[in-house]
Amino acid sequence: VKHNIFAIELCLRLLPDDRLRGRLKEIVVSHPSASTPGYKWELLRRAAELLLSGEEQFEKGCWDFFEDDDRARRDYDMWCNGMITEEGARKEPSGRPGQRDEEPRYMTFTISLLLKADSESARSLAEVCRIPEADLWKKATFVRILQGLSHVSFAAVKSDVFYLIPGDENWGLTAADLEDPKFEYLRPIVG
């Protein structure tokens, strides 16, 4: 069985009293450990919808779609390890936005799907992700991809991972955190 991989990670600015982070957390932690393709589709749709509602807060991002099987397996492991090793998470709180200092705080939200190659979902996502190089980092591109996620059928998703940094509003990422080389794959979103 061959695989394709899709992944998107968005870095959004946290606003004081913003409920977006809490809602994203809620949909992930409340999703049952045993689930159906339908519920999983609903989770993906809701995550995309919430992220789109925070479009004005998009700061940095990254997205991938690869059809090569080896790369798909390898990259999916890499995205999962970002969660399992808690690599990007802070080791201690930084304070809520505006609480300790005037420096901004950020969150990241990551979705990665390991898809069955040659499935309708994989083909649809491939089409959504067919983006001219000049537009790769434009906000409109991220919006297009998020909107396109509703075409994914979980019948063809072998594994999926969703994660949010931070889990607690006191643990937001700082600009200095995002300067760390481990975040260098996140590029500024333009437009």
Binding site: T36, G88, K91, D160
Partner: protein, 447 residues
Amino acid sequence: MTSEDPRPPGYDFQQDVALDKPGIVGARWWHQGLLDEERKMSRRQMLVGLGVAGGAVAAVAAAGVGLAALFRPEKVRLERRRSLVMQQSYGWDFGARGVQLVFNGQAEGPFVRAELQRLPAVMAPVPGRNAPYYVATLVGSLLAQPTAALPDPEDGRPRPDGAPFRRLADVILPIVTPEMREAYRAGEALARLARGRADVAVVADMPGPQAVAFAAGAAEVLEPVLLLDNWPHPHGVVPSHLTLAALAYYQPRFASQKARGAAPPLFVLDRLRTAPYTEASDRFDNRYYARLPSLPSLAAGGVRTVLYVVASAAALPEPDDLNLVLAASTDDPPVSVSALAVTDFRSEKEEEPQGAVFFGGSPRREATFWPSRAPGALTADDFAPAPAGGRPPETKDHAFVPRRGAATVAPPDFGTVPVVVTASGLILSAALDRSGSMNRFAGGWSG
């Protein structure tokens, strides 16, 4: 899906990792239906590749080769996975289902097991400045159930960890030991010294049961903040089931002291969290690095004095995972860090070893506790005649100095366990006992 498949119809996605921590939340699911399909496909391909059909199957079986062994669908390999993630997925006793925990110092007296359900709530700090630092991992293990099961081996042998699962809340027994009682009395004495001081934070870094007992003794004045970040295991390098057992013993004490409300923090650490471990053994590596807040973070919450408490002076210096945190320079505002040992607290009368203890062994010496920790301050003891050979070094003289090689992030393999994995990522078993687990799957494993 087989007839023994526990999945309800349609519930094809099974979570194998879930995190809910202040720094990160997330989860991963696997589509069991696609995994099943993939395994079946691999078997068909193998049969085609072998040219096995009809009489050939019978011939192979007659020759004494288990057919299932030929059906083993994929090559497998050894990988290291996060021990905690494996336990959260497959149960706290991953790879050792049915092996009994061993408890030393089992407490006598009434014990209401059902009360353990409340332990996580009892140990959670009250909302306030200490709450973000709390690490609920260990107490979270009590009620946890596996979210996934290991697959049936292709050779028809029993499934790994196929015995009935029992929650930790159903097997933990409360313990109390002489060392715990000693630590409890020292905690009471420290609470007496810390009363009225809002600028203090205490770090109790001792073998888990003693650290818990120390925190229980001090609970009237200092709020316990657990930094216990692993799950127990029957073969665990860190015997954290004993720490849970100590928490069970002192649960009534902790519950009764919650009415105190917000208070300076007493961080509870298990000193065995970084215990030496030989990978060649069959031990389960449930070690971890402590997530102690940095001095600037504590300073932002009003802390100006950190007391680092160990079981005895022999437990100094501090381990690598704390060194850079405690040795960090802090000038704005300054935070002083000094060491202290449970053995610094002694009874005034040797004939009453179970009585109240004082720092230095007497109220007079105890009165010098804070003055002696003020930078540059002299106390009455400094003018007393020195014993022959000079004054022996005290725990408070320990200097926290950054060490080369110390780090706040654990090495990559720290707290990981070897598992047998198929090429498609399906975990077949733990590989704690390589002569056992690996042999079962050795027919196809590769590099």
